[in-house]
């Protein structure tokens, strides 16, 4: 199958293209299977500082520092990482730092691990309580439009925007090997 023509397979490339379009220069992430393709594209782009984090909350400080220094930044994380960030998100609200977070969901569609469910079940509500605008993506053909809109809102309006990528979009996690 040709990756370049199949949206179901190349949605991470569409996110990357949006990052390029709006000039994102720093991306913080904790390694994640759902974001692996996007992380690979970012690591291989000399124009983007890829910053691998020990915990997601570090990324909030990174975004704030990038904004102070005049660069646009985005964060990639799993739904579990949202819980790690909650106090740090106050920095974004207090100062009006633009922030775009792309979240791969766990604990929902075809989840094999019940330990992922409690945080997954409160991820979107937690983000809203922290002041984020949240947009959920279920289908691959929505990715480009929704991520593009999220980028524009975050960086044109100094807003905090979270794009929630559903577990159904990402695909079932293989847990036997």
């Amino acid at each position: 199958m040709d990756d370049s023509t199949n949206t179901a397979l190349h949605w991470p490339d569409l996110i990357y293209a949006q990052f390029r379009r709006v000039g994102i220069r720093q991306v913080g992430y904790v390694p994640d299977a759902g974001h692996s393709r996007l992380i690979e594209l970012i690591v291989n782009d000399p124009n983007i500082h890829d910053v691998v984090l020990t915990t997601e909350e570090e990324g909030v400080g990174l975004v704030a520092g990038a904004a102070l220094g005049g660069q646009r930044a985005a964060l990639l994380m799993q739904s579990s990482g949202v819980g790690n960030c909650i106090n740090m998100f106050s920095l974004l609200q207090n100062c009006g730092f633009p922030c775009l977070v792309l979240i791969t969901m766990r604990g929902e569609f075809a989840e094999f691990n019940p330990w992922q469910v409690p945080m997954g079940a409160i991820t979107e509500a937690s983000l809203k309580l922290c002041g984020f605008l949240t947009y959920r993506v279920e289908e691959a053909d929505e990715v480009d439009d929704v991520v593009g809109a999220g980028c524009d809102m975050a960086f044109a309006g100094d807003l905090q925007v979270a794009i929630v990528l559903s577990q159904r979009l990402i695909g079932r996690k293989e847990w036997t090997r």
């Binding site: 990174l62 520092g65 990038a66 102070l68 106050s90 920095l91 207090n94």
Partner: protein, 190 residues
């Protein structure tokens, strides 16, 4: 042991275009007491984030020097950040920890450094280019030279006295702090 106000005053003397991020609590008051400046970003919360804000800033402005001035408790809360900074190795980033071995804002309970946890050793283990302990005020010029000319990332742990200094409170409006910082930064090139 070092008087914190005297040390910070000396560190920020003739600061040129130095970008400063201060950790919440006493380091923010110390930086304010040394003279308010639009290129000071004072933290009033988000404990544990100071070093990472420094990293984002240092990556965005590789031609300028970035100083993160924070306390032992704040640095301990973001200990993982030192590993993250060690991976990126920004040459223009210096972290100075004002270490009084206590949590001053909450009633002087002892911190982990009081029990001997060594932040310089942690930073070195995290691939920082340089690490330094100082405990005498005479060292301030050497630290100031590292802040302006050293090859980072650099960690300095300054053992300060436990004496509380009078609070000097800078502005608390985060939007105002951000806007005046970015505006002053954009004018540096003029």
């Amino acid at each position: 042991m070092i008087d914190r106000r005297q040390f910070v005053q000396g560190l920020l003397f003739d600061r040129k275009n130095l970008l400063v991020v201060s950790g919440l609590g006493s380091p923010t008051y110390d930086v304010a007491a040394s003279g308010d400046h639009p290129l000071n970003f004072y933290l009033w919360g988000a404990m544990g984030s100071a070093a990472m804000i420094g990293l984002g800033l240092a990556l965005a402005q590789p031609g300028l020097r970035v100083l993160v001035l924070t306390g032992d408790g704040e640095a301990l809360m973001g200990l993982g950040s030192l590993a993250t900074i060690g991976v990126k190795r920004p040459a223009n980033l210096v972290i100075v920890v004002l270490d009084n071995q206590h949590y001053g804002e909450t009633g002087m309970q002892p911190s982990h450094t009081r029990a001997g946890v060594d932040l310089v050793a942690v930073a070195r283990a995290c691939k920082f280019a340089e690490g330094l302990h100082v405990s005498e005020i005479e060292a301030v010029n050497r630290v100031r030279d590292l802040v302006h000319n050293g090859v980072g990332p650099i960690m300095v742990q300054a053992r300060i006295s436990n004496d509380a200094a009078p609070r000097v409170l800078p502005i608390r409006d985060g939007h105002a702090l951000k806007l005046r910082f970015t505006e002053a930064l954009s004018k540096l090139g003029d």
